[in-house]
């Protein structure tokens, strides 16, 4: 299958994502921000970085790129869109996901391993995991504190759209060790149709044992398995 990988000025994780896709045995195709063509992608990744220098707000300017119009149309038609780190910020700014990512509560840029608990497997991104699985996947961001109003948080929880939560190494509550102070320890969320995922941690940086963890590869394998077996995702979840 083919993963489209968005490249904005300032994107920095595009090559790492391409490497993970290749390791998973699939084809990466780079999608330039000025180009509206998705080149037949089965899944579009919006990778990490600092698109357009993060001017104004993280993701605020990227939202207006010609590529993003196509990505939004693709998402609305049920296509798989996967925002990682800056990609998550872009998806929130583009209103493809609710809420916003704000300055880490520590006010520091945090680049370190994080432990995530899989909260739902009813998504193409986690279908090959089990609920409660712990994944070791690094974070690398200064603005990853997820915030939303109570109504939105309740909807995310009740509809099974909180997909990953930060936890301590032993699986217990993360407490003060949270990398960013996100509400409800949220590390990743799905849209209402479960075909759009936004997550702050970087699965592509945990895609082989030499990197310290290959847990991120389980997400790439989930996506490829889902595409191979379901083809299209419109309203299947």
């Amino acid at each position: 299958m083919r993963f489209g990988i968005a490249v904005f000025p300032g994107t920095w994780s595009d090559r790492d994502c391409a490497s993970a896709v290749t390791l998973a045995g699939h084809e990466p195709v780079m999608l330039w921000h000025k180009d509206a063509d998705l080149h037949g992608s089965d899944c579009v990744i919006l990778p990490g970085g600092f698109s357009y220098g993060d001017y104004l707000r993280c993701g605020a300017v990227a939202r207006f790129a010609p590529l993003m119009k196509s990505v939004a149309d693709f998402a609305r038609s049920g296509g798989l869109v996967w925002g990682i780190c800056n990609g998550f910020q872009i998806l929130c700014e583009a209103h493809l996901l609710p809420g916003a990512l704000t300055r880490n509560s520590s006010l520091e840029f945090r680049c370190e391993p994080a432990w995530l608990r899989v909260e739902t497997t009813t998504s193409p991104f986690t279908a090959q995991c089990s609920r409660g699985d712990l994944l070791r996947i690094p974070v690398s961001h200064g603005e990853g504190r997820y915030v939303a109003d109570e109504v939105t948080l309740a909807a995310l929880e009740n509809e099974g759209r909180v997909v990953f939560r930060y936890v301590a190494r032993d699986g217990g509550p993360v407490g003060e060790q949270s990398p960013n102070g996100s509400m409800r320890d949220i590390a990743g969320i799905l849209n209402d149709r479960h075909n759009v995922l936004g997550m702050m941690p970087h699965p592509e940086r945990a895609s082989e044992d030499a990197l310290g963890s290959s847990d991120g590869m389980r997400l790439f394998k989930s996506v490829t398995h889902a595409v191979a077996h379901e083809g299209s995702f419109a309203n299947i979840w």
Partner: protein, 65 residues
């Protein structure tokens, strides 16, 4: 955080401190009302994120050509 820093440096009597964004715009508009309307629409579409930010137009004045 900022207030506590000021206090540690001996600046007592700071009741509150907040850090925000200040955006200066030079726009072409027929009159003050249309300039205000234009800037308001800019705030709604790009300059602020309504999930986390409010805005107000603090001052508006005519620039000499």
């Amino acid at each position: 955080m900022v207030r506590d820093g000021l206090k540690r440096l001996g600046f007592d009597g700071v009741r509150a401190a907040r850090v925000g964004k200040h955006i200066e715009l030079e726009v072409e508009a027929a009159d003050e009302a249309s300039a205000r309307d234009l800037v308001s629409r800019m705030c709604e579409t790009l300059l602020r994120n309504p999930v986390i930010e409010d805005h107000r137009i603090a001052s508006l004045h005519q620039l000499d050509e």
